[in-house]
């Protein structure tokens, strides 16, 4: 019989140990399931966790995949910290990409890269507007933000599909549902490294991540806004007594996370696709939920978590090509990982005690 006994203070050791143990447990249970379903666990292990590092240029590809995850995850961190459950980042990502795409395609001849500032801003606005719907419904009418933000994912997916098959379809696309290519000014280039050329698909969008991580760290740890978010999440009553306006915090975190998801959408499309198409996201908005938790709702943690999860995603792509395992299996690992991470949170606050039989 296991019982949990509250700790006097949160265990510092567990903050570091829990994510590492969670990853170990996840790999173990994941492979157990693979073996049970008749796949070779060792080959799966190699494909998913080792093959992404097999060539130097693949490290660039890992960073490319990590880029949207870290950006979205940072936004979600703000929400989850304040107990606001935005799970519609996927939709906000799409709407950000779409609004930016609309602006980019409205200026077909623009060449200056300064134009990117405008499209990125447009992406932020697009994502934030989409997140504003659950924000306003939650604060004014007490509507559950989980369900609204998720429903809006489906709406956004259908909306971009409609746009690229209808109004924004390129007449020269031979019937494919594609928009015209973006103008030069709206494209994010690959980073040239002196001597070795390009590192996989690594592009300048990664600079946004290097900017975002320190800024969000300062925001969360050193500003009043960040302090309010922390208090609201960890001690809602204290926040109330301190006179923090819960509604304005809820709206702020939803707008910021929606906006960041939108920016991730712009960077993804401008760097890797170069035009609008029906599918732009591939589940980044959902995976980023796991990234936020694996990163312990901490900007630096999320940076590492994004890279780890991106590695697994890339590995799953390899496993699909070489072993015919469907790509969605990453969800299997992500789900188990989340279960163990959350258990780790319990162990931070409680000690385990083994006792004989029932008390």
């Amino acid at each position: 019989m296991i019982t949990f006994i509250p700790r006097d203070k949160v265990s510092k050791n567990w903050i570091i140990i829990a994510p590492i143990l969670s990853i170990v447990f996840t790999i173990f249970f994941g492979l157990l399931i693979f073996a049970f379903l008749g796949y070779n666990p060792l080959e799966t292990l190699y494909q998913i966790f080792v093959s992404p590092f097999s060539r130097i240029d693949r490290i660039g590809d890992i960073l490319v995949k990590a880029c949207p995850l870290i950006i979205i995850g940072t936004g979600l961190m703000l929400c989850f910290k304040s107990n606001v459950w935005n799970i519609g980042a996927e939709g906000q990502f799409i709407m950000g990409a779409l609004l930016a795409g609309f602006i980019a395609l409205s200026f077909p001849n623009i060449e200056t890269k300064f134009f990117l500032l405008i499209t990125i801003l447009a992406g932020f606005v697009g994502g934030a507007l989409w997140a504003f719907i659950p924000a306003i419904l939650k604060t004014k009418l007490n509507v559950n933000e989980i369900l609204v933000s998720l429903m809006l994912v489906y709406v956004a997916m259908l909306f971009i599909d409609f746009i690229v098959r209808g109004p924004l379809r390129d007449p020269m696309s031979f019937g494919f549902p594609l928009s015209k290519p973006y103008p030069e000014g709206a494209l994010i280039n690959k980073i040239p490294f002196p001597g070795i050329g390009f590192l996989g698909q690594l592009h300048f969008g990664i600079l946004f991540v290097f900017l975002l991580v320190p800024i969000s760290w300062i925001y969360v740890n050193k500003t009043l806004g960040g302090f309010k978010i922390n208090v609201l999440g960890s001690a809602p009553l204290a926040a109330k007594f301190a006179g923090f306006k819960q509604n304005s915090i809820t709206i702020t975190v939803l707008l910021l996370s929606g906006g960041l998801a939108g920016v991730a959408g712009v960077i993804e499309v401008s760097a890797n696709i170069g035009q609008l198409q029906p599918e732009v996201s591939f589940g980044y908005g959902f995976t980023a939920i796991i990234v936020a938790f694996l990163g312990r709702l901490n900007p630096v943690g999320i940076l590492f978590a994004g890279i780890i999860i991106a590695t697994v995603k890339l590995g799953a792509d390899n496993a699909q090509m070489t072993m015919g395992i469907p790509k969605v299996v990453t969800g299997l690992f992500e789900g188990i990982l989340l279960f163990f991470l959350l258990t780790g949170e319990t162990l931070q606050k409680y000690k385990i005690k083994w006792s004989e039989g029932k008390k």
């Binding site: 296991i2 019982t3 949990f4 509250p6 399931i33 693979f34 379903l37 989850f80 459950w85 799970i87 719907i133 419904l137 009418l141 007490n142 509507v143 559950n144 989980i146 369900l147 609204v148 998720l150 429903m151 809006l152 489906y154 709406v155 259908l158 909306f159 599909d161 409609f162 098959r165 209808g166 959902f286 939920i289 796991i290 938790f293 015919g324 395992i325 469907p326 790509k327 969605v328 299996v329 990453t330 969800g331 299997l332 690992f333 992500e334 789900g335 188990i336 989340l338 279960f339 959350l342 258990t343 949170e345 319990t346 409680y350 008390k359």
Partner: protein
């Protein structure tokens, strides 16, 4: 017309079952956001069982068991390890999406026989009503049975009243000596069973083959239905029929070539969900007594 009504009923049954199960879980204080995942598992479990045993009734059992298995994972973590219910439920859906993708891969392209209709002697010969109400498949009858059962269970049975007490104030229920954790385990597993059967219904009746993520958000709409029904069982029937109707209306619209782009029509069930939630939530916040007070809150009491 008759065919149309039958399609609407068939479309609403997975929603009805999943929402009925979730209602019981929520009444006990457990918010399980993994409904979509449990339905997916039910669907893949049913497909596998029917392909293997070649009898659609085994699909119902397999769907129920798959749902219960998923609900047990959720219970183990949220009830015993005291993890956050919202995050764990999301994790369950993500996990099940991956697991069913993997388990469903070998099933792609295979078709299963549909669940047979059962005619009720004499009653099924009544014009119109007969073929709609008394010429349904087993799961359709079962789902109405479950709604009637949970209505009476919650209102009149001792266990039902204890379950509600646990959902309304787990601390007091614990002090009086009720086994909070055990009751929540049962309620969550009942929810998993219903969601599993609801998921199984999709391949057994609606589309007889596997495709990744074939539940298409039905689990989330079922969660919204519980709110829409204000936690009152019979209202789930009304809600499910409305959503079934909207889903079919947009399909009919697409087939008849309404001058609205098909994607905008396909948005209707999701937008309707948001509108329904908005209308109900405004009223609920004024009348808070119907929402289980301990919903979503972890229970730390030792046991």
């Amino acid at each position: 017309m008759e065919a149309l009504i039958l399609t609407i009923i068939a479309t609403s049954i997975p929603l009805l079952l999943a929402a009925a199960g979730e209602l019981i879980a929520e009444k006990s204080g457990v918010l399980n956001l993994g409904v979509e995942g449990m339905m997916l598992s039910g669907a893949v479990g049913a497909l596998g069982a029917v392909l293997w045993l070649e009898n659609p009734y085994y699909g119902i059992i397999a769907g129920a068991l798959s749902g219960i298995l998923m609900a047990s994972i959720f219970s183990l973590f949220t009830i015993n390890f005291m993890t956050n219910q919202v995050a764990t439920g999301l994790g369950l859906t993500i996990f099940a999406t991956g697991l069913t993708g993997l388990a469903g891969a070998p099933l792609v392209g295979k078709t299963i026989p549909s669940l047979p209709k059962i005619e009720i002697f004499l009653l099924s010969d009544i014009p119109l009503i007969g073929s709609i109400l008394f010429k349904q498949d087993f799961v359709a009858y079962l789902s109405i049975g479950i709604i009637i059962f949970i209505s009476f269970f919650l209102k009149y049975s001792k266990s039902g009243i204890i379950l509600r007490a646990v959902g309304d104030d787990h601390q007091s229920a614990h002090s009086v000596g009720y086994p909070v954790k055990k009751i929540r385990w049962y309620a969550t597993c009942f929810g998993g069973m219903c969601a599993g059967i609801g998921g199984a219904y999709i391949p057994l009746v609606l589309t007889p083959h596997w495709s990744e993520g074939m539940t298409a958000g039905r689990g989330w709409i079922a969660l919204a239905l519980v709110v829409f029904a204000s936690w009152i069982p019979w209202r789930i029937i009304v809600g499910a029929l409305i959503f079934g109707g909207i889903t079919i209306a947009q399909l009919v619209g697409q087939a008849r070539g309404w001058p609205i782009p098909s994607q905008l029509l396909s948005m209707m069930p999701y937008i309707a969900t948001i509108i329904a939630l908005t209308m109900i939530s405004g009223r609920l916040s004024k009348n808070n007594s119907v929402v289980p007070s301990s919903l979503g809150k972890p229970f730390f009491g030792s046991q």
